[in-house]
C-alpha cells in the first residue's frame, strides 16, 4: 500500500500503521519467546522468537520497504549485522574492503574472518583501477562504506557494484551515515545494505541495533538462515524503540544535514582549522558522485586542527556537543577517531589512511546550529590563543 507515498509519509504509514486486532496505532511489543501451535505436523508462521517475532517482523518489513529491498533483518548491533552478512562467505573466499572502514569492521575482518580462512585486501574504493587490480579469482564481496568514516571519501556505488557483478561477487554497502532518507544503495546495484541502526535510524542514543536489507529473494533466504542459526537477533523492546525513532527520521535528517552544512562552512573559513572533510563542498574530490547518488552530503563530517595539542585544547573547551563514541543522535557528538572509532586500527595503518591525531569527527544533532557555532567559536578562540600565536 505504501508504494504510492513519498519517503517521509512511508516512515509513518506502512502495513504496520495499525494493529489489525485492536486498531492500536503503535505496533504492540510481543514479548513471547514461543508461540502455541495448533497442529502437530505443521507449525504456524511464528514458532520461536529467534526465528521470527511479530514485533521484529514489523521492523524488518519497514526497513526493507524504506531501502527498496525485498527482505530486512534486525540484529543485536551494527556489528552483529555486518558479521552475520560476512558469514555468507566460506573458507578460501576473499573480501575487498574500503581502506578507511569503521574500526569495528576492520577488527572483524582482520582478527576474526582471517581465522576462518577468509582473506581480505584493503583498497581505496574511490579508485576504480585500484579495485580492479586487487580483484582475485576468489573475491566474493566488495565491501563499501560511503561516505567513509572518518575521512568522508565517497565511493561510486553504481560503478563498484557493476565491477563486483562482472567478477561474480556481491556488493555490501554500509549505509549508516546517510540512511535511505538520503541514499538507497540497492537501487544503485548493491546486494546487501547494512546499518548500524544505533545511529541515525534510531537517532536518540538509546538503542544498540543493526539492520540488513537485500533485494534478491534467494540471497534473502541465505541471510535469513544465518540470522536464525547465528541468532544475533534484536530484542523486541529495542525493535519497538527503533521503529519509534524511524518515525522522525526525515525531520531529524533534514535538520541535522542543514545544520552540518552551516557548521562545516563555518569551520572551513576558520584559521584555527587546517582542513574540513565534508562531501558537500564543491571542491571535495568526489563531490559530483555524492550529488549523483545521494540527496545530501549528510550530517557527519571531520575536521583537522593544526596539531594534536591544539585539538586537545579545543576538545577541553567545547561545552555543547557530547565528547563520545557514536554518531547520528539528537545530541551533537564530537569524536576522536584515533582513540575511538579507529582505535582498533594500528597507528601505522591509521597514519597511512590519513586519520591523523589532530582529526575530529562531528555528528551534528538537533541543536540550533548557531548555539553550536557560538560554542566552537569560543573554544577555537582559546585554542588559537594558546597554540597559534
Amino acid at each position: 500500500m505504501s508504494e504510492q507515498y513519498s519517503f517521509e509519509t512511508k516512515l509513518l504509514h506502512n502495513k504496520h500503521k495499525f494493529d489489525p486486532a485492536t486498531g492500536a496505532v503503535s505496533v504492540p511489543i510481543q514479548h513471547a519467546s514461543t508461540f502455541h501451535q495448533q497442529e502437530i505436523d505443521s507449525f504456524g508462521k511464528y514458532d520461536y522468537a529467534r526465528s521470527l517475532n511479530p514485533t521484529r517482523e514489523a521492523l524488518e518489513e519497514i526497513i526493507a520497504d524504506l531501502e527498496d529491498g525485498t527482505k530486512g533483518f534486525a540484529f543485536a548491533s551494527g556489528m552483529a549485522a555486518i558479521s552475520s552478512a560476512f558469514l555468507l562467505l566460506s573458507q578460501g573466499d576473499h573480501v575487498l574492503i574500503s581502506e578507511d572502514v569503521y574500526g569495528g569492521t576492520y577488527r572483524m575482518v582482520t582478527t576474526v574472518l582471517n581465522r576462518f580462512g577468509i582473506e581480505h585486501t584493503f583498497v581505496d574504493m574511490t579508485d576504480l583501477a585500484a579495485i580492479e587490480n586487487a580483484v582475485k579469482p576468489n573475491t566474493k564481496v566488495f565491501y563499501i562504506e560511503t561516505p567513509s568514516n572518518p575521512l568522508m571519501k565517497v565511493t561510486d556505488i553504481k560503478a563498484v557494484s557493476k565491477l563486483a557483478k562482472q567478477n561474480g561477487a556481491w556488493t555490501f554497502v554500509d549505509n549508516t551515515f546517510l540512511t535511505p532518507a538520503l541514499q538507497k544503495p540497492l537501487c544503485l546495484g548493491a546486494d546487501i545494505v547494512l546499518h548500524s541502526a544505533t545511529k541515525f535510524l534510531s537517532g536518540h542514543s538509546d538503542v544498540i541495533a543493526g539492520l540488513a536489507v537485500v533485494k534478491d529473494e534467494e540471497l534473502g533466504k541465505l541471510l535469513g538462515s544465518i540470522q536464525n542459526s547465528f541468532g544475533a537477533v534484536l530484542g523486541v523492546q529495542d525493535c519497538w524503540l527503533l521503529m519509534r525513532g524511524l518515525k522522525t527520521l526525515h525531520v531529524r535528517m533534514k535538520h541535522s544535514c542543514e545544520a552540518a552544512n552551516e557548521i562545516a562552512s563555518y569551520l572551513n573559513n576558520h584559521s584555527a582549522i587546517k582542513k574540513v572533510y565534508y562531501p558537500g563542498f564543491t571542491d571535495h574530490p568526489q563531490y559530483d558522485i555524492q550529488q549523483e547518488q545521494a540527496t545530501s552530503p549528510g550530517a557527519v563530517f571531520s575536521f583537522e586542527l593544526h596539531s594534536e595539542e591544539a585539538m586537545r585544547t579545543f576538545v577541553k573547551n567545547v561545552e555543547l556537543p557530547v565528547f563520545a563514541v557514536s554518531l547520528g543522535a539528537v545530541e551533537s557528538i564530537l569524536s576522536y577517531p584515533a582513540k575511538m572509532s579507529h582505535a582498533a586500527m594500528d597507528p601505522t595503518a591509521r597514519e597511512e589512511r590519513g586519520i591523523s591525531d589532530a582529526l575530529l569527527r562531528l555528528s551534528v544533532g538537533l541543536e540550533n546550529p548557531q548555539d553550536l557555532i557560538a560554542d566552537f567559536e569560543k573554544a577555537l578562540k582559546k585554542t588559537a590563543e594558546l597554540h597559534y600565536i
Binding site: 507515498y5 500503521k17 495499525f18 496505532v25 522522525t248 525531520v251 555543547l320 563520545a324 548555539d371
Partner: protein, 369 residues
C-alpha cells in the same frame, strides 16, 4: 541560555556523573536505600520522587519558565492534581469550548464535592470579568480552544487574575512551550496533556504541570505525592525521548497545517476552516452532515482516531468522540456541530495528505448523491 531547540535536544544529557551516559537511565526502583537515620539521598519512595521523572519535571519547568514541574499519569490526572488545591464552595471560570474529558471531570466529579464551574467565552476578557464572584478562585483557559480554535489573551487574563487575586491556569497542550509560554505572560500554572505534542508519537499517556511561586509549588508537590497520580519511570523516559524532536516535529506540523488550511478553504466540500495561525491543529466543517461518515471511512492515509499531536495525522469527530460527554444542546450552542471535524496534522508529506483528503471528499459526495 540556549535556544529552545537546543534545550530540547539536550534533555537529560549530562544528568548523570558516574558513567557519563548521554541518555538518562530509567530508574525502575520503587525504593531507595538510606545509609542511616536521617540520611536520605534525596530519594525515598518513587511516588514521592524518582530520578528519571525528576529530569523530565525539571526539563518541562525550564521550558515553560516555571519553578517546578510535576509529571502525572495522564493529562486528566494533571487536572485532577490541580483541583486538589481547591475546596468546597470555590468557583472556577473556565472556557466554554472545552475538552470533553475536562468537562466530565468537573461536572461528574468535582461538582459532587462542591466545586462550582462557570463556563464562559474566554476569548472575551469582559465575559471573564463579568463572571468573577467573591468565591472565584481560578480562571482556567484552554488556548487555542478545543475544537473551535479560539484564542484567549493570556496576558490580559493574567492581569485580571492578579487584580481579583485568583489563579490563572492555562492548558498549553495545543501550542506547547515552543509556541506559547503562559507563565511568561503571567499565568500561575500551566498544564499539558503530554500524550499529545510533547510525547508526539501516539504511544505515551502522560500529563504535566508547571507552576510558578514557592507556595503553590509546595502545595502541588504535596498533592502530587498524596494523591499519587504520578508518571511511571519508563513513560517519563519515553516522554523525554519524544520531546527531543519536538521543535522539528512542530515546525513540520505547522508547515503542513498552513498548507492544508488553504487547501481546505478552497475545497468545495468544505464550509469553513478554523485555524488559529500557529501549531498543527485545524478544525473544519463539511458542507453536508451526511458526508462525514463516508468521508472518514474513505480516508486511507489519515487515521480516524481520537487524540492529537502525534507524528501520524488523525481526524477526530468531536460530536461522538472528544466531546461526547458534553450535552448536545450545549455542544451545538458553542458551535461544535455535527459537521465539524478536527484534524491533527501529522508530519507526512503534505501532498500525500491532500490527495487522501481530496479522494475521501469525492467518494463521500458520490455515495450520498
Amino acid at each position: 541560555m540556549y535556544d529552545v531547540e537546543t534545550k530540547l535536544a539536550q534533555i537529560g544529557n549530562r544528568s548523570e556523573k558516574t558513567t557519563g551516559t548521554v541518555n538518562p537511565p530509567v530508574y525502575f526502583s520503587t525504593a531507595f536505600r538510606h545509609a542511616g537515620i536521617g540520611e536520605s539521598t534525596g530519594y525515598d519512595y518513587t511516588r514521592t520522587g524518582n530520578p528519571t521523572r525528576e529530569i523530565l519535571e525539571q526539563a518541562i519547568a525550564d521550558l515553560e519558565d516555571g519553578d517546578r514541574g510535576f509529571a502525572c499519569s495522564s493529562g486528566m490526572a494533571a487536572i485532577q492534581t490541580i483541583l486538589s488545591l481547591f475546596q468546597s464552595g470555590d468557583e472556577w471560570i473556565i472556557s466554554k469550548d472545552l475538552y470533553g474529558g475536562t468537562y466530565r471531570l468537573l461536572e461528574q466529579g468535582f461538582k459532587k464535592w462542591g466545586l462550582r464551574c462557570c463556563y464562559v467565552n474566554t476569548s472575551s476578557i469582559e465575559d471573564i470579568e463579568a463572571a468573577i464572584t467573591e468565591n472565584t478562585k481560578a480562571i482556567f483557559i484552554e488556548t487555542p480552544t478545543n475544537p473551535l480554535m479560539e484564542t484567549a489573551d493570556i496576558a490580559k487574563a493574567a492581569e485580571l487574575a492578579k487584580k481579583h487575586n485568583v489563579l490563572l491556569i492555562v492548558d498549553n497542550t495545543f501550542y506547547t512551550p515552543l509556541i506559547q509560554q503562559p507563565i511568561r505572560l503571567g499565568a500561575d500554572i500551566v498544564i499539558h496533556s503530554a500524550t499529545k505534542y510533547l510525547g508526539g508519537h501516539n504511544d505515551v499517556l502522560a500529563g504535566l504541570i508547571v507552576a510558578k511561586g514557592d507556595e503553590i509549588c509546595q502545595e502541588l508537590a504535596l498533592h502530587h505525592n498524596a494523591a499519587g497520580a504520578v508518571l511511571s519511570p519508563f513513560d517519563s523516559w519515553l516522554l523525554m525521548r519524544g520531546m527531543k524532536t519536538l521543535a522539528l516535529r512542530m515546525e513540520k506540523h505547522e508547515e503542513n497545517a498552513k498548507a492544508l488550511q488553504s487547501f481546505l478553504k478552497n475545497h468545495d466540500a468544505v464550509l469553513d476552516v478554523l485555524y488559529p495561525g500557529r501549531g498543527g491543529m485545524i478544525s473544519f466543517r463539511v458542507q453536508d452532515e451526511t458526508w462525514v461518515n463516508p468521508f472518514l471511512q474513505n480516508l486511507t492515509l489519515i487515521s480516524f482516531a481520537e487524540s492529537l499531536g502525534g507524528v501520524e495525522s488523525f481526524i477526530t469527530y468531536p460530536a461522538t468522540q472528544t466531546h461526547a460527554d458534553i450535552p448536545e444542546k450545549i455542544r451545538l450552542e458553542t458551535g461544535v456541530c455535527n459537521r465539524l471535524l478536527r484534524f491533527s496534522v501529522g508530519i507526512e508529506n503534505v501532498d500525500d495528505l491532500i490527495k487522501d483528503l481530496d479522494k475521501a471528499f469525492t467518494i463521500a459526495k458520490e455515495v450520498t448523491k
